[in-house]
């Protein structure tokens, strides 16, 4: 008999005791430790380097903590680093990014939530086809659509100028980029909202209709308050996605309106003069701060956002 009673003389009762140092646990936590070191070590190097002066860095002890802590590189990265002719650091890129981010996130979520709501609850003839076409957009590589998008923005700007009589340029402006982000966020966000609203009991929708609420009444009074978690997920998805975007930023804006990521690249990859590693590290950390804050603030919902974004490929 291999019963616990015979081996240890203890009668099995209550919660089964688990061994802490079982081979399974050692494997599990060992793997987790190695994986976390893999990601945390570079972060550690970045932080300590950003707090060192250049002479200390030249000594080459990458892992050693700073002897003399200095915040000079952070100040320089934020306010003084040069990209091209502008020498006001990353701050310009930060504000550009905010100006791009806020309207893009608001606009894309507003449109996509109404899209998802209409496609799941107010089905019309051809709504399924419409949805399929929209989702198809999520599977086309961005790169394919860049050049057509450039032409579209240019022509749309021309058209708007003609109509309004003033000179409007979409290509190269922040608003052009906002439109691009909104359009490219549409497939995945619509899918997200449609699936969420499809899970709302149909009888709730029917009850609201009997109660005399219309399309917008049901959307604002019933569905919107219910859908807050999915709105947060969508926001996380969009904020991280748009903030981290480099490709669209570099293509659809000009040096004056470059988002933070593009500016960061220009600072780090500048070939003139001495490589200021501490400034580069500080600049990179500054740029990554926004998604990091979002991550720590939203916790569980962030994972849901990432999982939903996994379809994006």
């Amino acid at each position: 008999m291999t019963d616990a009673t015979t081996n240890t003389g203890v009668t099995p009762r209550g919660t089964k005791p688990r061994r802490r140092m079982s081979p399974r646990n050692i494997m599990l936590y060992g793997t987790l430790f190695v994986a976390s070191m893999y990601y945390l070590l570079p972060l550690y190097v970045m932080i300590v380097t950003s707090l060192k002066g250049m002479p200390e860095i030249r000594l080459g002890n990458v892992f050693s903590p700073p002897v003399e802590v200095t915040f000079e590189p952070w100040v320089k990265a934020w306010a003084e680093a040069c990209t091209g002719i502008n020498c006001d650091g990353l701050s310009r890129g930060f504000w550009n990014s905010v100006q791009i981010l806020v309207p893009s996130v608001a606009l894309s979520i507003a449109i996509a939530s109404v899209n998802g709501y209409a496609l799941s609850l107010w089905k019309f003839k051809g709504s399924e086809v419409f949805f399929t076409i929209l989702i198809f957009g999520a599977f086309i590589p961005y790169q394919v659509m860049i050049y057509p998008m450039v032409i579209l923005l240019r022509e749309a700007g021309e058209g708007l100028s003609f109509i309004t009589g003033t000179r409007i340029r979409l290509m190269g402006s922040v608003w052009g980029l906002v439109i691009v982000h909104t359009v490219f966020g549409m497939p995945i966000l619509t899918l997200l909202f449609r699936n969420y609203f499809a899970s709302v009991p149909e009888e709730l929708f029917k009850a609201a209709r009997v109660d005399g609420a219309g399309f917008w009444g049901i959307y604002f009074r019933i569905m919107l308050p219910m859908a807050l978690p999915i709105f947060v997920v969508a926001m996380i998805l969009q904020v991280t996605g748009i903030w981290n975007d480099f490709l669209f930023g570099v293509i659809f804006t000009k040096p004056d309106t470059y988002p933070m990521t593009v500016q960061l690249n220009n600072i780090v990859n500048s070939v003139q003069g001495v490589k200021e590693y501490n400034v580069n590290m500080a600049a990179t950390l500054l740029t990554g701060l926004v998604p990091l804050i979002i991550y720590f603030a939203s916790g569980k919902l962030f994972v849901r956002g990432i999982a939903a974004g996994a379809v994006k490929g």
Binding site: E203, L204, K206, A207, A208, V210, G217
Partner: protein, 361 residues
């Protein structure tokens, strides 16, 4: 005038015809129950009356007004759903007043109507709570209240008690009946539960495959089912069927597996009984045991195969004339499997159905 009339209602989902030229007339103040197995189109019919589904053809009149093209909110109906469908983010009060706010009813009147509905349904202490903080029975009361505050003449119920446990269902069923007696509104009630149908209805409409099989009072449906399907659907335990034929003779008799059952006194639906293959249905409740057996026109000896004692009554399973046969005895009856019993019933009180058309004879 708040009667409801459904004229030639047809509904198609693509190529599937769910309702086929359905006609229904519901009188003012009537409690009509739409009864049927799942998928028979009863909920669909209710949704069409409510205006929640676009119909393919036909007309719907409520209170003498053609509402076929009108929005659900304009039809003068209130609806209660199986899943309660309360707005989760609103308090009970918010739930009750939502429809009135949409209809732009003045605030004092909203407060008055909400208070009145809450009083009728005894949910006053719950007004400030959210639906999540309510029990199933309380939720369904609020859902009924939401229909009540709208001051409509027609109430539509879509299996309102199906999500409740058995005891609560029985309680709320009684309350619904009281509510109907008090309000005297026209009510259309969808259910698959025949007990609900029998107890609540003024008239029952039994549906099958998008067609109304019979529409009559509960007693009529039970005693004189219009076809074999209705006979088998209504009644628990199920009616006993004998397959056989009506013989040609002075007094008509039913012949099944060499056993003859006299049919003298059978009330026919259309003219005299003519010889033909037929089904005879005998309700388990119509069977008599004990000392009165010999007074019955038909008697037989049976062996008890299985019995279910349920306290109030005992159900006995046996075989008669080669067919499975169930009957009901008093709950105090002492029987065990293998016992031999004498039973009797009056075949003329049963129901005869034509073998091919399955219509009542």
């Amino acid at each position: 005038m708040t009667n409801v009339t459904v004229k030639d209602l047809t509904l198609e989902f693509g190529a599937i015809r769910v309702l086929d030229k359905l006609n229904l007339q519901i009188e003012e103040g009537e409690f009509l129950v739409l009864l049927g197995a799942s998928g028979c189109g009863k909920s669909t019919l209710l949704n069409c009356i409510a205006g929640l589904l676009d119909i393919t053809d036909g007309e719907i009149h409520i209170g003498g007004r053609n509402v076929t093209w009108e929005e659900p909110s304009e039809r003068g109906i209130g609806m209660v759903f199986q899943s309660y469908a309360l707005y989760p983010q609103m308090t009970v009060e918010g739930n009750l007043s939502f429809g009135l706010k949409n209809a732009k009813v003045p605030k004092p009147e909203i407060a008055e109507r909400v208070a009145r509905a809450a009083e009728v349904l005894q949910i006053e202490p719950l007004l400030k709570r959210k639906p999540a903080a309510l029990s199933g029975g309380q939720r369904q009361r609020v859902a009924i209240g939401r229909a009540l505050v709208r001051d409509v003449d027609v109430f539509l119920f879509d299996e309102p008690l199906s999500n409740l446990d058995a005891k609560l269902r029985a309680d709320l069923r009684v309350e619904l009946k009281l509510l109907h007696q008090r309000l005297q509104n026209t009510m259309i009630y969808v259910t698959h539960d025949q007990v609900e149908a029998m107890t609540l209805a003024d008239r029952i409409a039994i549906m099958r495959g998008g067609l109304v099989q019979q529409i009559a009072s509960p007693a009529e449906v039970y005693n004189r089912p219009s076809n074999k399907y209705v006979a088998g659907f209504i009644g628990s335990p199920t009616i006993n069927f004998f397959e056989g034929s009506i013989t040609d003779g002075k007094t008509p008799e039913f012949l099944t597996a060499d056993i003859k059952m006299g049919l003298s006194g059978y009330e026919t639906s259309q003219g005299a009984l003519s010889p033909r293959p037929a089904w005879l249905g005998i309700r388990p409740e119509a069977v008599i045991t004990g000392t009165d057996v010999d007074a019955q026109p038909f008697t037989a000896e049976i062996t008890v195969e299985l019995f279910e004692a349920m306290g109030a009554d005992t159900l006995v399973y046996t075989t008669l004339a080669g067919a499975p046969f169930r009957f009901r005895m008093s709950g105090q009856a002492r029987v065990t499997a293998g016992d031999t019993l004498r039973i009797g019933f009056d075949p003329a009180q049963g129901s005869l159905f034509d073998k091919s058309t399955e219509e009542r004879l």
